[in-house]
C-alpha cells in the first residue's frame, strides 16, 4: 500500500517542458530517501492547465504544484514526501489561502465551472495501467452492453442521449449507428477518427494520452451495436505519446480478453488496430480517412454513398471522433436521461475546448454546452493577459469563424455558433486581442488550407489559392474595394462547389471576418492602414518627439541602425531603413515609440 501518490502530467505539453526528467528525478530522490515502498509516482494524462506546466499533484493532500523544475524535486521529496511540509512556494498560487491552508483544485476558477465527462480520467489515472481504468468503472459499460442489452437497445440509448459528433459537424451519433446497423453485410467496421489537424486543437490527443481505454471500450460498444468485429483508429504519426499509449492499451485489453474473441462470454468478437496518418489535414475528412486506411492516397470521395452504407473497403462503417467515443461509456452507465440533463436541449452534454492564443490559462477545458463564451474566456481562461482587451475568438479552426466581442455572451452550442457564422469545429478556441488583425488571421487560415488542399477538385485547389492571393494583396496595401467584393463572391463559389468538407468550409474564416470586421478590410484598402498594427507593410514606427527623452536606448538596440539622434534630444526613425521588428518599442521606457 502506498501512503502517497505523486501524479505528474505526462501529456505532450508538460512532456515538452521536461516532465520526463522530473519523473526520473523523483524516482531517484524517493529511492535515495528510502521512500520507494511508500510513495507511488504516476505518469498521468493532461490536467488541462497547460499554461502552468509541468504539473504535479501530491495525494492524499491534493497539493497542486505548478511549473515544477527538476531542481525543485529534491525539496519536494525531502520536505513534502518525507516530512509532510507542503512546499508552498511551488503551489499553484490560486490554491493558497494562507500559509497553512490550501483550497482544493475544484474550487479554483479554472476548474470550478468545468464539468469533466470526456476528460474524467485525464490527470487522475495512469493511462498505461488498465487496472486503474477498471478501478474507475472502466469496461463496466462494455460488460453491461454485452450481458444485458441488445444492439437495438444500445442504439436507442445513444439516440435518446442526443449525443452529437464532437468532431465538428455535430451529426447525431445514434443516427449514424442506426444507419450502419440497418445495412446488412458480411463485414462491418467501427472506426475512430483521431486525425486531429486543426491548428491549436489538442483535445483528442489529450484524451488518447490520458484515457486511451475509454475510446477502446466505446469502439467495442459501437462494434456490438452495428455488428462490426473490427475497428481501426486512424491517428496522426505526429502524436507519438498518444500512439504509444494506445498501443499499450490495446495490448492490455487483449490480454484481459476485453478485446478479441468471445468478450464476456457473449459470443461477441471485436479487435482494434491502429493506422498511422502522415499528417494530411484532408485525412480528417471521413471519406479521405477511409481511403487512406485502405492504403490509397488520402483523397475524399463523393458522398453519397455515405460510410454507413459503403465505407471502409466498401463495407458499412461507423466513424466517430475521439471525444465522441470518450463520452459513450458514461452514457451507457449513467443513462441517456443523465446525459440529457447536462448542456442544452439540442446539444446535450459537454464540450472540450483547447484554449489558445491571447489568454492567461492556455489549456484544456471541458464545459457543459450552453456555457457562454464570456465564462470560458474570462472566468476559466483567466481573461486576456498583459492589459489587452478581448477582440474576438476563433472557433472551429480553418473551417470555422470568429465570434466578435459583441457576441461574447452567446451560449456555446452547435446551433448558436452556426447562427452567428462560426461553427463548433473540433474544439479549438483561439482568443485574439486588439493587436490581432482580422485580415491577417483570415490569411493565416487560408495559408493553411492552401497547403492542405488535396487538389482533387478545382474549386478548392485553385479557389483557395486565389483567395489567399487577394488577401495577401490587401494586407500589403495594394487591394481595391472591388477585391473585397470579388473575395466574397469567390468564397461562396468555393463553398458551394467543393467536393468535401475541407473546401466547403475553407472560406469560413474570410466570410466571418468580412461579416464582423469589413471596416478593417476597407481600412487596409482605402486608407492603406492596418487598424490593429499587425500588417507590417502598412505599419510604420514613429518616435513622438515630446515623449522622447533622448536616452539612446532604442538607437543602441536597433539591429539595422535606423534610429538616429543626439543624447538628450528627440530621436528619429528612418522608415526606409526600418525593418519593423518592434525592438525599439519594447525597449523604450517612456512609451515614445508608436505604431502608425
Amino acid at each position: 500500500m502506498f501512503r502517497s501518490n505523486v501524479l505528474v502530467c505526462g501529456g505532450t505539453g508538460c512532456t515538452s517542458s521536461n516532465s520526463e526528467q522530473i519523473i526520473e528525478k523523483l524516482n531517484e530522490e524517493i529511492k535515495a530517501q528510502g521512500l520507494d515502498k511508500e510513495v507511488n509516482v504516476i505518469r498521468t494524462g493532461c490536467f488541462g492547465l497547460c499554461a502552468l506546466g509541468p504539473i504535479m499533484v501530491v495525494y492524499p493532500e491534493g497539493a497542486f504544484y505548478s511549473r515544477v523544475t527538476p531542481e525543485d524535486v529534491p525539496e519536494i521529496v525531502s520536505e513534502h514526501l518525507l516530512k509532510g511540509r507542503i512546499v508552498t512556494r511551488l503551489l499553484y498560487q490560486e490554491t493558497v489561502v494562507d500559509e497553512n491552508t490550501t483550497k482544493s483544485l475544484n474550487e479554483t476558477k479554472f476548474y470550478a465551472k468545468q464539468m469533466r465527462i470526456a476528460l474524467r480520467n485525464c490527470g487522475v489515472i495512469n493511462p498505461e495501467l488498465i487496472d486503474e481504468y477498471i478501478a474507475q468503472d472502466g469496461y463496466a459499460a462494455l460488460g453491461k452492453v454485452l450481458t444485458e442489452m441488445t444492439p437495438q437497445q444500445v442504439i436507442q440509448t445513444m439516440l435518446d442521449s442526443g449525443l452529437r459528433g464532437r468532431g465538428g459537424a455535430g451529426f447525431p451519433t445514434g443516427l449514424k449507428w442506426k444507419f450502419a446497423a440497418a445495412n446488412q453485410a458480411d463485414q462491418k467496421y467501427a472506426c475512430c477518427n483521431a486525425d486531429e489537424g486543426d491548428p491549436g486543437a489538442f483535445m483528442d490527443r489529450s484524451v488518447l494520452e490520458g484515457d486511451p481505454h475509454s475510446v477502446l471500450e466505446a469502439m467495442a460498444i459501437a462494434g456490438y451495436a452495428i455488428g462490426a468485429s473490427q475497428g481501426y483508429i486512424y491517428i496522426r504519426a505526429e502524436y507519438p505519446i498518444a500512439v504509444k499509449r494506445l498501443q499499450i492499451a490495446i495490448n492490455q485489453a487483449r490480454e484481459y480478453g476485453l478485446l478479441g474473441k468471445n468478450i464476456f462470454d457473449s459470443g461477441f468478437d471485436f479487435d482494434i488496430d491502429i493506422r498511422l496518418g502522415a499528417g494530411a489535414f484532408v485525412c480528417g475528412e471521413e471519406t479521405a480517412l477511409m481511403t487512406s486506411i485502405e492504403g490509397k492516397r488520402g483523397e475524399p470521395r463523393v458522398r453519397p454513398p455515405f460510410p454507413a452504407l459503403k465505407g471502409l473497403f466498401g463495407k458499412p462503417t461507423v466513424l466517430n471522433n475521439v471525444e465522441t467515443y470518450a463520452n459513450i461509456p458514461q452514457i451507457i452507465l449513467k443513462g441517456a436521461d443523465w446525459f440529457r440533463s447536462i448542456g442544452t436541449e439540442k446539444s446535450p452534454g459537454t464540450k472540450v475546448f483547447a484554449l489558445g492564443g491571447k489568454i492567461t490559462n492556455t489549456g484544456l477545458v471541458e464545459v457543459p454546452m450552453g456555457t457562454t463564451l464570456r465564462e470560458v474566456v474570462e472566468d476559466i481562461g483567466g481573461g486576456v493577459p498583459d492589459g489587452h482587451t478581448f477582440k474576438a475568438a476563433q472557433t472551429g479552426g480553418p473551417s470555422g469563424g470568429c465570434i466578435p466581442a459583441s457576441l461574447i455572451d452567446t451560449p456555446i452550442d452547435y446551433d448558436n455558433l452556426i447562427a452567428i457564422g462560426s461553427m463548433m469545429g473540433s474544439g479549438g478556441l483561439i482568443v485574439m486581442d486588439e493587436t490581432t488583425c482580422m485580415v491577417d488571421i483570415a490569411k493565416f487560415f487560408l495559408e493553411f488550407t492552401v497547403d492542405e488542399s488535396c487538389g482533387k477538385c478545382t474549386p478548392c485547389r485553385v479557389g483557395t489559392k486565389r483567395l489567399l492571393e487577394i488577401l495577401d494583396k490587401i494586407t500589403k496595401g495594394n487591394g481595391t474595394l472591388e477585391d473585397i467584393d470579388k473575395l466574397e463572391e469567390l468564397c461562396y463559389y468555393i463553398k458551394e462547389n467543393s467536393l468535401c468538407g475541407l473546401g466547403q468550409t475553407a472560406p469560413n474564416p474570410v466570410l466571418s471576418t468580412l461579416k464582423y470586421y469589413r471596416d478593417e478590410y476597407e481600412a487596409h484598402v482605402t486608407e492603406h492602414r492596418c487598424p490593429a498594427g499587425a500588417c507590417k507593410a502598412l505599419t510604420n514606427f514613429h518616435i513622438e518627439a515630446d515623449k522622447c527623452k533622448g536616452c539612446t536606448l532604442c538607437a543602441r538596440n536597433c539591429p539595422v541602425g535606423a534610429i538616429s539622434g543626439k543624447v538628450k534630444e528627440a530621436h528619429v526613425i528612418d522608415t526606409e531603413k526600418c525593418i519593423k521588428c518592434g525592438v525599439c518599442m519594447e525597449k523604450c521606457k517612456f512609451n515614445a515609440v508608436v505604431k502608425k
Binding site: 500500500m1 501512503r3 511508500e38 495525494y59 492524499p60 477498471i134 468503472d137 463496466a140 480478453g257 464476456f264
Partner: protein, 126 residues
C-alpha cells in the same frame, strides 16, 4: 474476460490504490508528526501502519497524512486525529501495533483509545 464478476474483482482490487486520489476533502484526517524528531522516534512505520490498516478496512472518508513538529518532541511519534465537530485527539508514543488498534477502535468504532492519548501519558499522570 469471461464475466462481470471477474471485472468486478479487478476493480475492487485496483480501487485501493486509486482511492487515495479522491480523499483530499475527507472528513477525518489522521496526522502523523513527521518532523526530524518524529522520524527519529519511528514515525514512519506508524504512518505506514495507518495507511495499510485504513486501506484494509476500506475507510473511504479518512485521509492519512503527515504533519510537522507540534513541539512535544519527547512524546513522538505523535498522531493527531481530527474529525470535524469533535475534539481533536492526540495520541503519543505511537507504534505500528498501537496504530492498528487506533484504526480499529477509534476510526472504525468511534471509541477513543484513552490510554494512548497525551492525557494519559503526560508527565506525572497516573
Amino acid at each position: 474476460m469471461k464475466s462481470l464478476a471477474e471485472l468486478q474483482a479487478i476493480r475492487d482490487k485496483a480501487r485501493a490504490s486509486v482511492n487515495i486520489r479522491e480523499n483530499a476533502g475527507a472528513e477525518t484526517r489522521v496526522l502523523v508528526g513527521m518532523a526530524t524528531c518524529g522520524i527519529a522516534a519511528g514515525a514512519r512505520p506508524v504512518l505506514n501502519a495507518f495507511v495499510e490498516e485504513v486501506a484494509k478496512r476500506g475507510l473511504k472518508d479518512t485521509m492519512v497524512t503527515q504533519t510537522g513538529c507540534i513541539g512535544i518532541c519527547q512524546y513522538e511519534p505523535v498522531v493527531e486525529v481530527v474529525t470535524p465537530g469533535k475534539e481533536k485527539v492526540t495520541y503519543v508514543k505511537m507504534t505500528a501495533e498501537k496504530a492498528v488498534r487506533v484504526v480499529n477502535d477509534h476510526l472504525v468504532n468511534g471509541n477513543v483509545v484513552t490510554e494512548y492519548t497525551i492525557g494519559a501519558n503526560a508527565i506525572g499522570a497516573k
